[in-house]
């Protein structure tokens, strides 16, 4: 069962489609960045960026240019090499995780079958969790190597928070895997033909989403960079290119979590009520669902205040973990009983 993997194409198609999907992801990041600033502005009864380009549409470009023209400086207390590669680790893990989001079924394009995803492997969610585990080093090394106390505290908090919520996040998906009987993400989408998993796996969905907020260090779990107490947290000492890298990684991670939630719980490219549109609609459906989840991220950021650190930890261990475990247990019993 585990050995059966999705179809894969000739190597040149694999490379071409990887470049294409990466380009799309690269374009989505500034869109999310602008959407967040615009929406946060509206939530707070102001306009948000509206000076650069029509409706402020070129604001992300201006931000990047400004960051790149900043002086590159690092504190004398920092560790040079680690300080330089830490943001790169963050970017690499986010980008690699983006590869697994399926944007559609395998399509016939010019006579060859092409799967509309970067990779479709037999380990699916485990690949995402593995990269999440490495992403931890991006934050940890960045904060530690800065040699500043705000960075250090931010990194320690971030590390403990990431590993605490990763347990619940992993457990939340076990129920889905039991129901779908596969770890391949396209397989999980096809298994949702009857009903999208956010209905039978509602608690798994909730736990995964909440843990996803924590894993991406987004409000209300952004204690890693709690501006009010830690200045900027793990990236206090970063400016210019390093800062740009961290922000790129953060927004790409938001997209990745949206994509995983869409794939696993919201039926991926499937349309409701059994509508079967032609294959080229699939990516649009996926992107639409992803934008809904991304909107939820921004909405929650505008709504909820930041949790206190002890509340955050006890919420993860004492609420989410038991909930995810009970969900797994009940799913296992129901599935075997029905079977």
């Amino acid at each position: 069962m585990l050995a059966v993997v999705g179809y894969f194409e000739p190597w040149w198609i694999q490379i071409l489609k990887a470049i294409l999907i990466f380009a799309v992801g690269l374009q989505l990041v500034p869109v999310v960045l602008l959407a967040e600033r615009k929406l946060l502005g509206r939530f707070q009864s102001r306009y948000g960026p509206n000076r650069v380009g029509p409706y402020g549409a070129l604001q992300p470009l201006a931000d990047i240019l400004k960051l790149l023209t900043k002086e590159q400086s690092r504190p004398t207390t920092s560790v040079g090499l680690l300080f330089a590669i830490a943001p790169l680790i963050s970017i690499l893990t986010a980008v690699a995780a983006f590869a697994i989001i399926p944007f559609g079924d395998t399509q016939d394009i010019f006579g060859t079958k092409v799967g509309l995803y970067g990779i479709d492997v037999s380990i699916g969610p485990l690949y995402v969790f593995a990269l999440g585990g490495i992403a931890f080093y991006g934050i940890m090394l960045g904060g530690w190597s800065s040699g500043s106390k705000y960075s250090f505290l931010g990194a320690m908090r971030g590390a403990a928070q990431l590993i605490s919520y990763e347990v619940s996040q992993g457990l939340a998906l076990v129920g889905v895997v039991i129901t779908a009987q596969t770890l391949s993400l396209t397989g999980i989408v096809t298994a949702q033909k009857g009903m999208w998993y956010f209905i039978p796996q509602f608690f798994g969905f909730l736990v995964f989403l909440v843990a996803g907020f924590a894993e991406t260090n987004r409000a209300p779990f952004d204690v890693t960079e709690a501006d009010a107490e830690l200045v900027g947290g793990y990236n206090t000492e970063y400016g210019g290119g390093g800062f740009a890298s961290y922000y790129f990684a953060e927004y790409l991670n938001v997209l990745v979590v949206s994509g995983i939630v869409t794939t696993i719980f919201l039926g991926g490219w499937l349309m409701p009520f059994g509508i079967h549109p032609p294959g080229w609609v699939d990516p649009i459906v996926v992107l639409f669902k992803m934008s809904l989840i991304t909107f939820l991220f921004i909405w929650i950021r505008a709504t909820l205040p930041r949790l206190r650190y002890d509340q955050l930890m006890s919420f993860g261990w004492k609420v989410l973990l038991p909930l995810a475990t009970v969900n797994t247990l009940v799913t296992a019993i129901v599935v075997v009983a029905v079977h």
Binding site: M1, A3, E71, S73, I119, K149, A160, I163, K318, T328
Partner: protein, 118 residues
């Protein structure tokens, strides 16, 4: 089968190019006017006394140990979850025993107060 990971490697190369471009462009375009005070770590108030080898809360280590324990359990649950239907009630019993054992350990950890943040 490792061939199916090829796109992921392409993603890694392209992602490295973006991150590298940020760093290289920044060091080419950005000015360099370093002064001793500019290179101090950020501080607000007293001079920073943080050393990298400094001691900090034991709670962080405790959480890390708990993580290893529970994450391994999660990883063990994945293979059995895929094959649960194939092995039926036999696998179900195993899963229940496994999760109950996990809960006993969890209850112990909770009672001993390891989950209280200090």
């Amino acid at each position: 089968m490792l061939r199916s990971y090829l796109p992921a490697i392409v993603f890694l190369v392209l992602g490295g190019a973006v991150g590298g471009a940020f760093a290289v462009l920044n060091s080419v375009i950005g000015p360099r006017r370093a002064t001793p005070h500019k290179q101090d770590p950020y501080e607000c108030g007293l001079p920073s006394e943080v050393k990298r080898g400094m001691r900090f809360g034991i709670s962080f280590y405790l959480i890390a140990m708990l993580f290893i324990l529970f994450d391994i359990e999660v990883v063990f649950l994945y293979p059995i979850a895929v094959e649960l239907r194939a092995y039926g009630s036999y696998a179900l019993t195993e899963t229940i025993v496994f999760i109950v054992l996990l809960f006993v350990a969890f209850g112990y950890v909770w009672r001993r107060g390891a989950l209280e943040w200090r």
